[in-house]
Structure formats: structure tokens, C-alpha cells
Subunit: 218 residues, 4 copies
DNA sequence: CATGAATGAGGTTTCATTCAT
DNA sequence: AATGAATGAAACCTCATTCAT
């Protein structure tokens, strides 16, 4: 059994049936707008995308957007948060299905790449596109982002405890390093290979290898 | 002798004495504006920085900026290009002063970190800030950027040829790995330590180690 | 019965009742702006008139103008086109009410002068004022302008066929001549007499006379 | 003998020998700039032509223009005045060489057309292009323009006195008629025939005919 | 006199946000 | 709740004019 055989169907966190009809309705509208915004932001970038573009794309009126989101920044921020929440949920779920730091690490890398692949439009915004500084720092301080950092740090700590990862580097450093490697490979794929239908997930092996063993010849 | 003892004075490429008084004057003005722009862009980000801000900061009139730069994009692009040109020049110079792939690699890392340290304002723009997509792609296609890529690739090839670096990974992947590690440490330093006057250059050792040996415990 | 007794009430081309409330509202706003623009252009000329002037005069915000017109050129062009459309409609209607080239000619001159009188502000722009070359050529190619030229040429041809006008000159030449005479008299009136409440229409007779019989003593 | 055989060499009004060397030098510079301005204005129109364009075209520095002309308006105005002064001088000279109102009239028409032909660039500015209202009205009030009007009126009065031209129309109206015809033919030629090297002067005959006998069939 | 770099006021246009319907 | 017309602040960029060299 390897990570590729894990169940990819993800249970919903909170069954919507518990919400009132109105609230459900509201969430649907909100989701419509977020989806449209994701698309438009990815297409035009944060600054060139107008609220009208997004509203039209979601088939609502301009003003309607403001019933669901404070302002443009907030809308953008919501997309980011939603995505982080999603990947966090996926990672937790999947990592719980395997045992041992090595397997968890592999799952972590695999799922991260997979998520990137599925959401490349979104990452086009987040990694590449123009974003207001204020949004980024607001995000850095958000609860969801810190939860994600914690989960990540936990993984590293576990791997260090199990003796998989060296202890002469700070967990934070290792975490940043892995994150950076993932980003870098994903970006490279996105620039060069994403159109050629190459498989980003398939790079899990080489990334694990490089991350753990480094670049030195043996 | 180690890399820390290398000559840090860098010979000018083109002795300014050869330029006419007017041309020299022009270059000084241009430099003033670039410096101010660097500062203002770093402070406010690309979109929120106005040409007037930059002009005021350089103590010129708004229109003066347009005597030296086509438009805002062009000004921004010029800053980036100038920086890349500079780091490229430094890296070439310093790497030529040492022998062997290992030493070159160490110099490469050391000087990259050092340059980052000296130009943290600039990198605040480049790495973190909002940039128009069109500028980035224009930059990606620029000669200076491709030269930088080449220099990098050359280093990797040499290290592979000398048997320092494994050949079972593509050079591009090795490059991504190193770039990831550098970025990751630089960014982390920038966020946490830059104000505490910690020394980024001093991380050369751990970075070499992580790059060559990976994160695995031995 | 003479041309002065013709019915001056002109039937609307398209009964506005057929338009939706919104569309009617839109047309009213548009008309407001056109009216204000006409006034401001006449007062200050095309280049010195600012969109803000026009908006203020129409008691709208600056941006509102851009909801109804692409840009300044387009606004100007719309005014011109509207006027030409109007005079064309009037001329057709009135000329259809009389028989014979001579009468039609008289009506043509009379109505042209009358229209000029009623719209002297507008002609201050069109004849006298500064206009971008590009607008003029755009206008020259417009359908409405070519329709007007056709209607005019048709009149001349008819007059030639009936033996009223000499055939040893090209219809185009005669057409241009009459147009030029009308413009010239109108301009003269506008400069000298318009403030003294003199009647431009009343010059129909002398213009007919000079146009047909020339300046020679008989 | 007819008007075509008149001497076309025109004596200078004021022999430049009487001016000091400096003053002559100054006038040459001025003429350079006027010539360049004529060209650039004709090419780009009043508003789109910049002082720098004109200076460059005349091979002077921007500031130099301001040593010879108050400002942009004034430069434009000077061109117009210069041209009017020239045509006035020519008309007077040539009309003095013939006897009789009919001959004078013919000369007037012929020379006007000829002048137009030689200066079509200039007329492109004056007739067609955008000009500030203030300039036009300033011009209308200028001495040189009033002199031209006088010369014109004088011709008409003479022709009326000799019995060539009807007295039942006001001289101003006759003037407008002739001016209309000239403008109309000149404009038409300019639009259609000027590039095909057709001869505008050759239309003197038909213009005389239309002016004296009108458009009526006989 | 000549130069041309510097100035900075001012116009067009965009677009996030509001609010009356 | 939804709409979308109206708002108006703000930014880029141009260019007539000045003035130190």
C-alpha cells in the first residue's frame, strides 16, 4: 500500500443540514461569488480585476458582492483563507490515515502537490500575482494560517522525534525549507510543464529524496 | 583562506571618466530617482506607490521622473534589472577568484546572502510585493535574467562534472532546490532577524549542509 | 402659400412609449449630458472644455459622463451626429411637402438657416471651433453624414434635371458651392447680427437670388 | 493680354539691407521657426504639435522659440498673420497691374487660388485644424485682417461703381458670396485633387462664371 | 544669445463603494 | 435581499514655460 491508494473522497466538515435554509442559501451565494472571484483574479490579477468583472462573472449585480464581503481586499482574503482551510483539512485527513513520520511526510508532499495541481488558477494569484502588502500581512496573522503553520511544525517535530530528520536545525528552518522546495517545484512545473499535462504529483519521490538526502553525490 | 577573506572591493565595469559631463550628470539624476523609487516601492508596494511619492522622495518634480523613465512600469523594471545585473557581476567576479565547484558553491551562497542583506529593501519589493504580471514576464524574457539563469546552470553543471553533485536529478531540479533553500533562509531572516542585526551571511554553512546532505538525520 | 406656412411640428421618428422605463430614463440622462456638453463646448471650445465642466454643468459627477459616452471625443461626436440626424430629418420632411426643384431648394435653404438659428451654440463648435482631425474624419465616414450628402446631391440632380440649374458644372461643385454660401452667410450673421436679433431665415430670398443669378448686374 | 502673363516676381516690401546685421539675423531665425511651425502644425494640428516638435524641426532648442515668440498661441497667430500679409501684398501688387473691375476680379480670384495652391499646408491648419477660439477672435480683430477685409470691400465697391456688379445686394453679401465660392472650390480641390497635381488656378474661369452669373441655367 | 533640463499644474479616465429603488 | 446607476477621489502622464548654465 502506498499513498496513491488513499481515499480521495473527503467528508464535509460540517453537514450543511444543520444550518437554516436562509443561512444555507447565503452560503451558496457566497460560494458563487468566491468561485467567480477566483476565476477573475486568476485571469486578470488582483488590481486589474474589478468588482464588476467578478459580479458579472457570478451573474450577480455589483452591489450584491458587498452584501457578502466587506470590500475587495476582504474578498481576496476570503479566497485565500478558504483554500488554506481546505488544504489543511485534506492534509489532516490524509495524514491521519498513515503511520510513521516518513509516510506522513510523503503524504504531506503528495497532497500538497496534488492540491496545487487542482488549484493552479488560485496559486497563479497567490504566488505570482500582485497582491496588496496589507492583505498578505493580514493573512500571515490570521488564525487559519497559524493553524496551518502549527500542523506543519508538528509534522516536522514528529519527524525529528522519530529520528527521520536531523535535529541540528531548528524545526522552523526545516519547515520553511520544505515549504520553499514545494513552492519552487510547483512554480517550475506551473511555468514549464502544466500545459504539457505533466504530472506534478509524480514528483513526490524526487522531492522527498532531495529534501532528505540533499544534492550531494553518494 | 576562506571565502570571507575575498576582496570585497569590486572594480567598476566602465570607468565613468570616459563619459561626458552631461552624461554623468544624467546618470546621477537617474540613480537618485532609482534610489528613491526603491525606497518608496519597498515602503508602499508597487501599486500604492505613486510617481509623485517617488519624485518627492527624490526631491524632484513629478515630470522629471518621466525624463528618465518611460513610465512607472519601466521604472520598476529598471530597478529590478539593475539589481540582477549587479548580483550577476558580483557572483561572476567572486566565483572567478576561487577554484573548485565546492568553493564556488560556497561563494555563490555567501554572496547571494550578502547581497540580499545589503538590498533587503529591494527584495521586499521583488519577492513579496505586488507586481504587474506583464512586468514579470517581460523580465523573465530579458537578457539579463537569462544570463543569470545561465550562470546558475553553469555552476550546477560544473559541480556535477566534478562529482560533487548527484547526476540522478536534473540540473533544473538541483537549481530549484538551491534557490528554494536560499529563498527560504533569506525570507525567514528578513521576517524575523533582519531587525535584530543578525547576520544572514553566517548561515552559509548550514545552507551548504542542507543543500548537499539534505534534512535527513545521519 | 409659401414655405413660411409649412407645418413646423415634426413627428417623432420612434414613439418613446415603446421603450422600457429604464431605457427612457437612460435617454433622458444622456440628453442632459449632451445638452450640457453642447453648452460647455460652445462656451470654451473642445479642448478647453473639461469633462468635469460638462458634468458639473449637467449636475452629475464626473464619472457619470463615462457611463453614457466612451470618452470626450465620443461625446463630441455624438452631439454632431445627433444634430445632423435632426437637420436631415427636418429637411426630408419639409422638402416632401412641396413640389418642384425651385420650391424644394427654397425650403432647403430656409430650413437650413432656421436650423442654424436655433442651434447657433452648436455651430459655434462645429464650424468655428477646434476639433480633432480624427473626429472630423471619423464623422466624414459616418453613415449619417453620407446620407446627408446623398440627400443634398439628390436635390441638385433634381434641379438640374428640371432645368433649374446649369448642367455645365458638376453636381458636386454646385452642392459644395451652395453649402459654402449657406455656411458663409450663417457665419456672417452669427458674427454680426445674431445678437441684434436679426432674422437669419429672412435671408432665404437673397441667398436664392445670389446662388441662382450670381452677382452680375442685369 | 490676360492675367496669366503678369509678372510673378514680387518685389520685397522692405529691402533688408536697411536693417542692421543683428536685426537681419534675428529675422532669419524667426523665419526658420515659423517655417518649422507651419510644417509641424500642418502635420499634427495645433494642440498635438508641441513646442519641442517645432524647435526640433527648426533645429533649435526648446527655449529658443520663446526668444522669438511670446508663447504657442502667439507663434500660431504669427504664421496666420504672415500669410495674410503676404496674400494681401500679392493681391495689391497684381491688381494694380491691371485695369477695370472685371480684370481686377479675375486677378483676385486667380491669385487667391494660386496662393492657396502654394500654401496648402498652411490652409490645412487654418481651415481644417483645431485652433483655439481665442486665437481666432484675436485674429479677427487684428489690423492685418481688417486690411484684408478693406481691400476686398474696395474691390467690390469698384465693381459696383463700374456697373459690373449688382447694387441691390449689400457689398458684404457679395463679399460673402465670392469668399464662399473660393473656399468651396479650394476645399474641394484640397480634398480631392491636390494630390493628383490638378491645377486649381485653372478654375478661375468657372468661378468667375458662377460668381457673376449664378448657378441658374440660361 | 542659446540651451534643454526641470517644473508642476491640470486633464482624462478608472473603479471601489454607496444607496435609492 | 438584490440591483446597478451614480459617485468622486485619485493616479498617470503631458507639455507650455522658465531659468541656470
Amino acid at each position: 500500500m502506498n499513498i496513491y491508494s488513499l481515499n480521495h473522497e473527503i467528508a464535509e466538515e460540517s453537514p450543511p443540514a444543520l444550518l437554516g435554509r436562509k443561512e444555507r442559501h447565503r452560503l451558496l451565494r457566497r460560494a458563487d461569488i468566491i468561485k467567480a472571484a477566483e476565476h477573475v483574479f486568476a485571469l486578470k490579477g488582483f488590481h486589474k480585476a474589478t468588482i464588476q468583472d467578478i459580479a458579472r462573472c457570478a451573474q450577480y449585480a455589483t452591489g450584491t458582492v458587498y452584501l457578502y464581503f466587506e470590500d475587495k481586499n476582504s474578498l481576496y482574503f476570503s479566497i485565500v483563507e478558504e483554500k488554506i482551510r481546505e488544504i489543511l483539512r485534506i492534509l489532516r485527513l490524509k495524514m491521519a490515515q498513515v503511520k510513521g513520520a516518513r509516510m506522513k511526510l510523503e503524504v504531506f508532499i503528495y497532497e500538497s502537490l496534488y492540491f496545487f495541481e487542482k488549484n493552479k488558477d488560485f496559486f497563479r494569484i497567490f504566488i505570482q500575482e500582485e497582491t496588496t502588502w496589507s492583505i498578505k500581512s493580514k493573512f500571515a496573522k490570521s488564525i487559519i494560517a497559524s493553524k496551518r503553520r502549527e500542523a506543519f511544525a508538528e509534522l516536522i517535530r514528529e519527524a525529528q522525534a522519530e529520528g527521520l530528520i536531523r535535529k541540528d536545525a531548528q524545526p522552523g528552518q526545516i519547515k520553511d525549507l520544505l515549504e520553499s522546495i514545494l513552492t519552487s517545484f510547483a512554480f517550475s512545473w506551473w511555468q514549464n510543464d502544466s500545459k504539457r499535462e505533466k504530472d506534478l504529483k509524480a514528483m513526490t519521490g524526487i522531492i522527498m529524496d532531495l529534501f532528505l538526502n540533499g544534492a550531494k553525490k553518494r
